[in-house]
Each structure stands twice: as C-alpha cells, then as structure tokens.
Symmetry: C2
Subunit: 202 residues, 2 copies
C-alpha cells in the first residue's frame, strides 16, 4: 500500500486556515484531519475524538516525555500536540492527511516530514488582518498591535513553504487549496507505481 | 512584469491531449496556446494564425536554418515547429503558455525550458489505445501493431515528466490538468514577489 501525502497548512491566526482545512476534509473522502491532543477544555459543541482529543495536563506531559508527539506547542497557556502514531496510522493505510498547525509548529515538523507539502495561508493585507482583530472587539489597542507584529513576523517565514495562498476570497482560496491537493496526487513520483503496474512496465 | 509559466503537454497519439489543451485555453483567460508553424495544408475549418501558421516548405526550412524554432519535428511527412520568438513574446507579457507537443518534441525542449512544467497524458490502458485505433478503422492490422508499439515505447518515457494524468474520463482528466495549472501558479517561487510587495517585506 502506497503511503499517503501529508499536507501541512499554516498561517498567522485569523486568516481562515481552519475553515479551509475543514472544507478540504469535507471535499476529499480520502483526506483526513489528524486529531490533535489538547489540554484545553472543550468548547460547546466540540466532541472528544472528533474535534480534539481532550486530555489533562499530566497525560499530555506524559506523552511529551514518551516522545509521542511529532510536534507540540503551547498557545495562550494551553497545549496542543499531534501524535506521531495517529499520523503514521493514517498515512500507512494510504490516506492523505491535512495538518492545521501554527507557524512555529510547522517549522518544527519540517525536518521530520521532508516529504510533506507545506502550504501557507496569508490574509489579503495587514490592514485586513487589523480590521478582523478589531471586529472581534475583545483585544486592547496594545494587544492588537502585539498580534499584528506577530502576524507580520510570521508572514516573513513564508519563504519556508512550498505553496502560498492569499485568502482574499474564501471560495477562490479553497479552489487553490483543492488544486494543490489534486496536483500533488498527480505528480510523477505519486503516479509512477500505478502507471508501471497498469502498463506492465519494468 | 513577471514571466509566465510554460506547460508542456505530451502524450502518445490518440490520448486526448489536444482536446485537453483546448479545454484549458478556453478555461483560463491568461493561458495561451503557442500557435505552431506547419507545412501541412489546412483542413476544412482550420484558420491560418488561429489553428496553425500555414507555411510552405521553403519558408519552414528557412526558419529552421535561422534557428527560429525552439522545437520542430516531422510527423507523417509534414513539419511542425514552435517559434521561440512567439513563445517568448507571450511569456514576457506575463501570460502562461500551453504547448501541445509530441513525445520526441517534448524531450528536445526539456533542456531549453528547464523552468517548464512537463505533463504526460496516458490512455487508460493499452487495450483502450488499440480499441481507439481500430475504431478509426483506417489502419491495417500491421499499422495498428506498429502504432501500439510506438505508444508503449512513448509511455516508457513517462519518467521524464513532472505530472502524469491518466485520461480514463475526460472531465476528471481536465479537472487534474486545471489543478496542475492552478497549483503551479500558487507555488512559493511564483507568489513570493507579489507577497513581498503586498506586505512590504524586504
């Protein structure tokens, strides 16, 4: 059985990354989300084993100590991690996997997933990013400034990715994400085994 | 102005390559066909400068002597060539170009178009290839055998391409071609200039 492809989708916060990943998983029957472990509490409507695997601090730290995460990170005091075993299980059953990871997490994973396809989602502009943060209306002016600086710093990491999608319109951004997934599946190295078998090439 | 991308589409004959290229040009307003020069006579409905540039033997040979073709080939006694100047003109105006070229032509062009995206279209099977040749009902059994051997030989060249599309269904083959074009336009190296300008990155 041929190994699946890992698509790593990363972005500054508030660029629509999670929405785009969900759309992709809904669209492709053979593309899965690897479910993250987290120490944060479920929000209303979130289900354990579907949205996240909710674990307590001690369980999470035990998994870190046992090297069970391919990447893990702390965001706003809560911990998130992707299990290596979960990921390998999906890939070796031939499924493709989409990982929705923050910029720091994506960089940590790069070395260990050299075959992965790294996709960066960008906001249409810094002004739009600022507008979105203001619209949420829950951060102070100073906090907004801090978040904007962080976003700009993350945007500078764009060079480390294979593909760049500017999310100026959700439908067209999804069209591009979908195309990347289809095109990667059409690449010579993914197709060659199938072609050799079909045409009895040696 | 950023240079356009060249997509080189190649295939054994009778795999639907030309149909797929036409569909792509119809779909993408900023994708053009580079119009080939040929010494063959126009078929009913074909227009000079639209389908081909129809030239006589002497003109064609003059262009060969002057090195005006990026590739040229003889197929069934008729000559075909792609003008370097036409191609560069389209690319430097920022348009993407799709070249519909036979397998021999594609290999000749590879060295000179290292940045090109090479796409191979395959028939669903050798049996299907044979069926199509028989259906045309114009070749002798021996001719069919010869053509099939040539197709198989060409299929062995598949390793030299970046992407492989098996044309088992025209719509789904076109979906894949479309995705390759969109994905290539989304690649980091094609997007980075735009991103730097938009976010004032240095």
């Amino acid at each position: 059985m041929e190994q699946g492809i890992v698509f790593i989708v990363s972005a500054p916060s508030g660029t629509g990354k999670t929405t785009l990943c969900r759309m992709a998983v809904d669209f492709f029957p053979d593309l899965r989300h690897s479910i993250s472990y987290t120490t944060r509490k479920p929000r209303p409507g979130e289900r354990d084993g579907v949205d996240y695997r909710f674990v307590d601090e001690a369980t999470f730290e035990g998994m870190v100590a046992d090297g069970e995460f391919i990447e893990h990170a702390e965001v706003h005091g809560k911990k998130y991690g992707t299990s290596t075993k979960d990921l390998q299980g999906l890939l070796s059953s031939g499924l493709d996997v989409i990982l929705d990871i923050d910029v720091q997490g994506a960089e940590k994973i790069r070395e260990r997933l050299r075959e992965g396809v790294f996709i960066f989602i960008l906001p249409p502009s810094i002004e739009e990013c600022e507008k979105r943060l203001r619209r949420r209306n829950k951060d102070s002016a100073e906090e907004i400034k801090k978040r904007l600086n962080k976003a700009l710093e993350e945007i500078r990491r764009v060079e480390n990715y294979d593909y760049i999608i500017i999310n100026d319109d959700l439908d067209s951004a999804f069209e591009r994400l979908k195309s990347i997934i289809i095109a990667e599946r059409t690449k010579k190295q993914r197709m060659i085994g199938k072609v050799r078998a079909r045409f009895n090439l040696t």
